[in-house]
Amino acid sequence: MRNIWIICRKELRSYFVSPIAYLLLAMFAIIFAFFFWNVLGYFVYLGMESQMRGEMFPMNLNEQVIRPLVSNVSVIGLFFIPMITMRLFAEEKRSGTIELLITSPIRDTEIVLGKWLASLILYATFLLITAVNFIWLFKYGNPDWKPLAVAYLGLLLQAGALLAIGIFISTLTRNQIVAGVATFGVCLLLWVLEWVAGYETAAWAQILAYLSVVTHFESFAKGLLSSKDAVYYATVIILGLFLTVRSVESLRWRS
C-alpha cells in the first residue's frame, strides 16, 4: 500500500515538474469553459425565445446545461487521456529506469497501481478546476447538485477505465508517441462503437454498443447512479490494470 503511494507521488511530481500537467490543465479548462459558455448561451437564447413567443417552455438547468455539458466533457476526455498515459511506462522503458523499478523490492502490481492512481488524480484535478464554472450556475440559478455529483463520478469512472487501457498500451512500447497514438485510436474506437446500434439491432451490434464507453456514460449524465454502468467501468479498469501487470511481468521475458 505504501509502495503504491510512493510510486504515485513520484509520478504526480514528474507531471507537475514538467509543463505537461499545466499545459493539459490549461487546455482542458479552456475547452471546458468554451463548452460551458456555449451551452449557457443556448440556454439563455431558449429563455428569450420562450418569452418572446409568450409561451413558457419548461426550463431546467440540470437537463439543459449540465447534461449536455458533461456529455461533451466525456468526449474531450478521450483526447486528453492518451496524453496523460503515454509516458507512464514508455518513458521508463526508454530511459532504462524500468530496470530500477523492477529490481527494487516492490511488486509489479504496486508499480502499476501507483501509476494508474497518479494519472487518475491528475485527471481529477482537471475536473476539479472545471467546477469553477458551476459557481455561476449556483449563484444565479438553482440547479440540483446531486445529479451533477453523479455526472462527475461518471466522468471519473470513465477516465479511470480509459486510463487503465492507456497505461496498458504504454507498457507495449518504448516510444511515447506510438503509445499516445495507439491509445487515442483505441479510445476513439470505444467511443464510436455505439454508432452501429443506430441502424442494426442484431446481437453483435448490441455487444459492440455495450462495449462503447459512451453508452455507459448516458445514465451518469442524466444524474442516475446506475450500478450496471458502474460495473462496466469497474470491469474495464480491472481488466486494463490486470493486463498491464501481466505486460510488465512479461517485459522480463521479452526484453
Binding site: 509502495n3 513520484k10 532504462g96 530496470e99 530500477l100 529490481t103 527494487s104 523490492p105 516492490i106 522480463r252
Partner: protein
C-alpha cells in the same frame, strides 16, 4: 554470498548465457570479464531478478532468484550500464525516492541519503537536476542509489563505461572503498580495471564460462613461466636455424628452445628456463661468442590483456602468434 548453478538464458534460440556456474564469497570484489555480447549483462540481470533464467538457477545470500525475488531484491544494489536516473528529479529527491522503494523510511532514510551523498562525493550537487549533471556525476549518483539501502551485494554493470580517465580512477577508487561492506560483482571489458580493483576474475565469452581464478594466479599464468624472447642475426658468423637452436640449448639452465619465426633481419627464438633472469647472461655470452648479433632480448611475459584475448579467442590476428603464451584455458567451473 552469490551462487550461480548451471545457469542458462536463451533469447529465442540463441543462448546468451550457456550453463554457467560460479560462486562468490562474502566481501569479495569479483570482475566479470568478457567482450561485448558475452552474456555479462544477462547474467547480472538474472542475479537482480530482472530476467528469469531459462534453466539452472542462482541465489543471493541464500535466497533463490525465482522463489524469493523480493528477498533477493532487498539485498541487492544494482547499477545498470546506463544509470537509471529520472532526469527531471534533483539528486537528493531521486535518492529519497530510490530509498523509499527500497524500503527505507523516516530518519533512517535521511541518514542514508546523507551518507551516500557523502560517500559517493555527490553532496555538492544534491540540489541540482539530474539531467544537468555531467556523466561522471551521473555515474556516481547511480552508485549512490545502488548502495542507499546498504545491500549485501552490489552488482555494477560496466561502472566506468564512457567516463574520462580521471573519472574512471575516481569511480574505481570509490568501488574499491566499498568492498569492505559489500560483496561486489562488476562487469567490464576493460582489463586494467580488473587488475586494479578485483580480487577474483570470472571470464566469459559467447555465453560460456572460460575461466575463474584470482587475479594474481591469472597474471602469473600470463607471465609465461620464465621465457625469454630473443632475436639474433648472422653478424660475423654463419647462422642457420638448426645450429643456433642446438647452441642455445647448450646454455646452462635452458630447458627448451623454440624457433618462433625467421624474420627479415634474423631468427627469433623463445627460450625457456626455470628462471629467465639467470639464463640471460649465459645466453648473451653464447650468442656473442658464436659471432652472432643480438638484436633483441626481452621477457616473454604477456599482459592480462593477451591472456584474455587468448582465452576468449577474440582476436588471434591482432596478437602476434610469437608472443602468445601457451596457456590452457581453465576447465569450466574451476574454482579459485
Amino acid at each position: 554470498m552469490i551462487s550461480v548453478r548451471d545457469l542458462t538464458k536463451k533469447y529465442a534460440r540463441n543462448a546468451a548465457v550457456d550453463h554457467i556456474s560460479f560462486e562468490v564469497g562474502k566481501g569479495q570484489i569479483v570482475g566479470f570479464l568478457g567482450p561485448n555480447g558475452a552474456g555479462k549483462t544477462t547474467t547480472m540481470r538474472v542475479l537482480t531478478c530482472f530476467l528469469p533464467p531459462t534453466s539452472g538457477g542462482a541465489s543471493v545470500a541464500g535466497f533463490d532468484v525465482l522463489e524469493q525475488p523480493l528477498e533477493v531484491k532487498r539485498r541487492i544494489g544494482y547499477l545498470p550500464e546506463t544509470p537509471p536516473l529520472y532526469l527531471e528529479m534533483r539528486t537528493s529527491e531521486y535518492l529519497a525516492f530510490v530509498g523509499r522503494i527500497k524500503g527505507l523510511r523516516g530518519a533512517e532514510l535521511d541518514k542514508r541519503i546523507n551518507f551516500v551523498l557523502d560517500r559517493c562525493a555527490v553532496a555538492d550537487v544534491k540540489s541540482k537536476v539530474l539531467g544537468k549533471l555531467s556523466k561522471g556525476y551521473r555515474q556516481r549518483v547511480g552508485l549512490a542509489q545502488a548502495i542507499i539501502h546498504n545491500p549485501d551485494v552490489l552488482i555494477l554493470d560496466e561502472p566506468t563505461a564512457g567516463l574520462d580517465p580521471k573519472q574512471i580512477n575516481e569511480t574505481r577508487d570509490l568501488i574499491k572503498s566499498l568492498a569492505g561492506d559489500h560483496t561486489i560483482i562488476l562487469s567490464t571489458h576493460i582489463l586494467p580495471e580488473v587488475e586494479q580493483t578485483c580480487q577474483q576474475v570470472i571470464i566469459i565469452n559467447k555465453g560460456k564460462l572460460v575461466a575463474t581464478d584470482s587475479v594474481n594466479n591469472l597474471q602469473n599464468r600470463a607471465r609465461g613461466a620464465g621465457s625469454v624472447l630473443i632475436e639474433i642475426a648472422s653478424g660475423n658468423g654463419t647462422l642457420d636455424a638448426g645450429g643456433a637452436k642446438s647452441r642455445l640449448e647448450l646454455v646452462a639452465g635452458v630447458t627448451r628452445v623454440l624457433l618462433k619465426d625467421s624474420g627479415e633481419y634474423g631468427l627469433r627464438f623463445e627460450v625457456e628456463g626455470h628462471n629467465d633472469r639467470a639464463i640471460r647472461g649465459d645466453l648473451v655470452r653464447a650468442i656473442v661468442e658464436s659471432g652472432w648479433d643480438l638484436l633483441e632480448l626481452r621477457s616473454a611475459a604477456v599482459s592480462l590483456e593477451e591472456v584474455f584475448l587468448q582465452l576468449t579467442g577474440a582476436s588471434g590476428e591482432d596478437t602476434k602468434p610469437s608472443e602468445a603464451p601457451n596457456i590452457e584455458p581453465a576447465a569450466a567451473g574451476a574454482q579459485a
